[in-house]
Symmetry: C2
Subunit: 374 residues, 2 copies
Amino acid sequence: VQRFEHGHDAADKGLYRHYMLKEIYEQPDVIARVLEGRIHQGHVLEQVFGSGASELFDQVKMVQIVACGTSYNAGVVARYWIEKLVGIPCMVEVASEFRYRKTVCMPGTLFITISQSGETADTLSALREAKEQNYLGFLSICNVAGSSLVRESDLAIMTNAGPEIGVASTKAFTSQLVVLMLTTLVLARRYGFDGEQEIVAQLEQLIDLTEQVLALDPQIQKMAEHFVDKHHALFLGRGTIYPVAVEGALKLKEISYIHAEAYPAGELKHGPLALVDEDMPVVAIAPNNSLLEKLQANLEEVRARGGKLFLFADSKAQVKPGNDLELITLPDVPTVMAPIIYSIPLQLLAYYVACLKGTDVDQPRNLAKSVTVE
Amino acid sequence: VQRFEHGHDAADKGLYRHYMLKEIYEQPDVIARVLEGRIHQGHVLEQVFGSGASELFDQVKMVQIVACGTSYNAGVVARYWIEKLVGIPCMVEVASEFRYRKTVCMPGTLFITISQSGETADTLSALREAKEQNYLGFLSICNVAGSSLVRESDLAIMTNAGPEIGVASTKAFTSQLVVLMLTTLVLARRYGFDGEQEIVAQLEQLIDLTEQVLALDPQIQKMAEHFVDKHHALFLGRGTIYPVAVEGALKLKEISYIHAEAYPAGELKHGPLALVDEDMPVVAIAPNNSLLEKLQANLEEVRARGGKLFLFADSKAQVKPGNDLELITLPDVPTVMAPIIYSIPLQLLAYYVACLKGTDVDQPRNLAKSVTVE
């Protein structure tokens, strides 16, 4: 296993072997940049969403998110946040599906698009389709100012992640999550949510937490060795962590070409458990004990089938590592921040597996950075 | 490859080698039974949903479907139907996710559960959770009269599929789809939909169409040979056919232990395309040309990567079979019936692959027929 020196302000790849690793390591800085100028005295500033944002947000009764790939996964996390903290319905749909079917637009629905490049063809077409309907307004969450998506939306908020060169998205994803939390908060305050200052404080602590998680790098490099000769993997999560599992599996697919698939943990026994044997490692992401307890029965079944478990959990997890269980212990994090924090070790895992397999990490086969064609 | 005699009224397994094959072949009869007594002069009878159904349906403004596994896949098809034909929002969620998160209940929302056994633990718990909320009413779509789900719901409609012994659900799925279409129609007539008689006529033609599709059995047996030495497969579909692709992949997982995964076709280029090579067959389900055109670019990419394509399409498909493309041509079917019809060849494909691999088709490893524990 190769080791590298990490430097946070490296220009281009700097001391990093790949852009992807550099971009993973930039995440504490990126999170700081996402928050910069957006927070004042523990509250999210609304003007950062664009002029007329407050008036538009006042009328939001429902949210429709449309995106592709990694951005879609960020949208699914936001759905859980919005329904929990705002208490209004939030639908999320893959752009290529949304644009080709007859959808229903309810009065007061805010239409949110998410895209790193702002040029994703299906997302842009979905936005244009939606503009023919009765949506309340259009908000774009994007990493490129002046992109088509931003220009064609009423409101936009930048993810400020800086250029992302690696085809497999990393810092773009976590920055989208932070922006989606800011969006959740400005909507939630209109529905009587009183926890904004607490969550803003947690967002500010994210920078440190992200650094702590990056320090797990050597452990994750070691864990990666178990995946080199594998052709499959199953990723399990629940709630906000389910889309994090989906994103983790997508990373492994994209750059290591391992067929990784994610399931909401409760669905395991409705089919995929048949796949589990010694050739199918199971990656379980269980940031707190109440989730872990629910996973426990599943995990026992996986072990009983000779499957090996790779568990990402916090210090309160009541499990013992052993031959059939590898454990990475993360710092304790507030529940609502878990999707952001737990994404990072999964990025590192995919990265180190790909390095060990010798694939072209920054330019995986068949994939383009921005999918600007249908 | 073994061949069997098929008889439709066989008691127990009869002349069939497995319950699953018998149950696949029962589908024309099952569809006839689902429709029996539910249709009058081209219209769906509302009293078959239970007493008070009409009054309850009059107030429906939104639909929330909750289910697990195969039943969840049926629910996703219904979502497309309801949003298109009724024009009201329809949300679908995996029961194990729904029950453990804070969800939002909008006024006028009909809560629908789907379960073959009516005893699925997560679905039953989700129903009980939902009853604490403000839902308009509770409809259960179920194959077992007197089951817990039926007893605890305001309304219920039976799928009349008869006992299903094979663990991998087949006739239960198609009968759920037919019942979901009946449900869609009774809601749609309240929102000015004028195509009910046309769709009812199409439902009545389903019986014949199903027979025609079953006659493709020898071709599908032959196609199955290509999968025997494979460890992966990718299933692609769009719109109502996307959940059919998910269900097709689930069948292959459950009984052949091949790691099959489904994607909405438009998402292929956002990651999974990196997986495609000569070891990853791609199954594309494209019941009409407008879908096929959209798939065409994807399919070219798959071919360029050495991937082999297995296409299920109708007679208008503009493709030539060859070394890199196997084609099964289905009868032309009305768009809205395609999810029901196209499910059947995918069941047969999974069945014959499993037979060739010598797995325990009716009792796949690790799985139970009814998941009555969490």
